[in-house]
Point group: C2
Chain length 476, copies 2
Amino acid sequence: MGRPPYVSLHVRASGRRIAASDIVDSVARELASGRLPAGSRLPPVRVLERQLALSKNTVQVAYDELYARGLVETREREGVFVAAGAAPTTRADAAAIAPPLPRLRPPPPMGRASLPSHGIALGPVFIDPELLPTERIAECVRSVLRQPGLDTFYDAQGHRGLREAIAARLSARGIECTADEVITTTGSQQALDIVARALEVRRVAIETPVYAYAKQLFETLGLQLTGLPLDPFAGIDLAAWERALAAGRPGLVYAISSFHNPTGYSYTTSEMVGLLELARRYDIAVLEDDWGSDMLSDGEYRPMLRMLGGDHVLYVNTFTKKLLPSMRVGFVVAHPSLVPSILAMKRLSTLGNVWLAEAVVAEFLERGYYDGHLAHVQRELDARYAACLAALEELMPPGVRWTKPGGGPTLWLDLPRTVDLAALERRLAAREVWIETRSAAFFGEPHLHGFRVSFAWQPVERLRRGLEILADELRA
Amino acid sequence: MGRPPYVSLHVRASGRRIAASDIVDSVARELASGRLPAGSRLPPVRVLERQLALSKNTVQVAYDELYARGLVETREREGVFVAAGAAPTTRADAAAIAPPLPRLRPPPPMGRASLPSHGIALGPVFIDPELLPTERIAECVRSVLRQPGLDTFYDAQGHRGLREAIAARLSARGIECTADEVITTTGSQQALDIVARALEVRRVAIETPVYAYAKQLFETLGLQLTGLPLDPFAGIDLAAWERALAAGRPGLVYAISSFHNPTGYSYTTSEMVGLLELARRYDIAVLEDDWGSDMLSDGEYRPMLRMLGGDHVLYVNTFTKKLLPSMRVGFVVAHPSLVPSILAMKRLSTLGNVWLAEAVVAEFLERGYYDGHLAHVQRELDARYAACLAALEELMPPGVRWTKPGGGPTLWLDLPRTVDLAALERRLAAREVWIETRSAAFFGEPHLHGFRVSFAWQPVERLRRGLEILADELRA
């Protein structure tokens, strides 16, 4: 640290030019406030002279006058200091002027922020890093550095080339849109955030169970929530949803239409049409979270809400899971009339996002790497999915059932009500097998009784080993 | 597009294994809903067989039965389709089931999202890209790619090495903290956002004028605001602030302590102490935005609120302006007891940020590039600042005054009340000189009458040319 930092002064000018007397008066006023303790260091002459655009002489004259009045003292090679007697004798003591701590809302009960570093995690929604195109992404980073090189600024709406590539991909699969309707986000989480912030009607309907961080996001933003019960074994009960929507009168319904998190359920086409009809009947807008559809097992897209309902449907997707989670690139597609409001919310939350990450994903898409990568992942996940179903069939005791999503990274494993989930989680943790049985994803009492099982996260043998231990504990 | 996408089905199992009759029943139920038009394509046999882990024969038997019942028809090399007569004859028409558009809040009146592409911009808060270390950052990117290589995941709180480097830098300048107290953010904007979301008491005091996007952020989050009038020519009137704080009873005061945006004002040390005393007296927490202090003109840090008031003070800073705006790396430093709540708000807004950007800034800091870069920028800005003051002195007509911040990128130019600011902005725009006279930064009627002038944004000759045109219009 060396010398103490010098204090900040404000020199008030009596005219357009600052005179030595202005400096004298300003320092005297600071001292008179009683808040500058004796021994405080004043700004060096060169600093004041440069700040105020004065000749060296002016500042020196002022400091000489302060010295003559006994207000300051000079110390060889150290500078000018507030004289003892000209101010309180003790330094302002931080403890004496510490403000109170801010009072913050308690954090909602969230899951662990990172994956366990050891043992077998049964439920991550991530794809095995071994299957991710890390080398090709590094290649795209190097390419971006060479050409076009790092940009100084960001486009608040998102990298233009990326938005164009996204619009082209979506249009090719039947979701007609242009780059101007795409807003990039930090993963799909920011997409949900900026849409939620922009809503005029502060009531939203969501599935139960649902992606827990969406529910908690909406809650912390003060939205009033209506739960739409989802049973992945029975399918959607549209009559029950209609009753819930009629009662809750939400302004928006948030739907995870493919490989729903956490149940693995995909809406059937007639359920999508039914939901759109309800939305129309009860004047409810629709936000579709389509994170899963790129993780189909057969490389063919099915009709989404955004296709069936047209461009009134807000559409969210992300490259996070499929490309490299650490890149954090997602997006929302919005009707042109909605873009200004949603973009304003993005600007107020982050101004704009990392140009480099967006340029790299644009490069990855422009090189045509994405389809090949998806096909590769899909083949791998198909094999793991089949092996997972076979292992469950072989290992699970009677009364255990599971969904058969046919894509995405996870399925839902449901247990007999007699199993104590919390105790099971503890017993498995003792054997370093991790499951997540939190009920944060549900509204009230859960109507399901289980947890996610991921076939995407780890090689077959490892998953099988985890399921063996699970079966073992279930029989115990 | 080729063939239309096939519809999604849900096959409900009657037992643990799915039988052909389950598939028949499920398809028949979908058709009975009346929402699947004739001509809809059913999932290919191979897809259902893979999804449901069935032998090929089971699905084929089911489809044969559906065919026998007249519910589906097969087309050579195209697949299986819903038969005419088995469902409504027209395809579900998107227009007929389009949901309403979401009703969104109108966007607040924000400035332009990007810098003008031509002409002379007088007021940007950015540093001239020519002075930014683009090549060295590219070098750091390449280095990160080689070693350690791209990480798959992100640390929700922020890259560990970056947080350690930040804590070490701050501790060296008298702001003692550890990596565990640092949360990285997408620029300082996200830092303000996640702190504001976490506040229990929804009332905040801010300077007026103030950084407009902070004010608008707080407003859109529903915070109740109290304005603290700041006159950069007179300094802070602590008695007036006390009256405002006593009346508004905020839970937090947000203060831009150095090179305040938009006035260029820096709090004097006694004003900081005075504010901390008020905070203590009225039970108000303090959030310091220290974006400016790395842009001192003399490379020496002065005492900040976080130094004077200790670790109860929330502290925000950012590398955005000083390094490369497109990297979007900022941070908040918080007392350990506050970290869980603020981190939860970060996770709910973006889950975590771009690993690559954070790793690159960490590398830049670890290589010791930052201090050398700041010294270089400071020398350049000193020269531009001096030239700017000289040009103003020479060119501005009587009655015009300006602040002398002695650092940061901008000063405040204040005009006689007789000047019509909106008309001036229009006349300058016609000559491709851009100023920003929006009053969004103020509470109510502005007590200042001017705009920012940036000496950091462009070379001296260019700025001088802009000021000449401004003087010309002021005389007109």
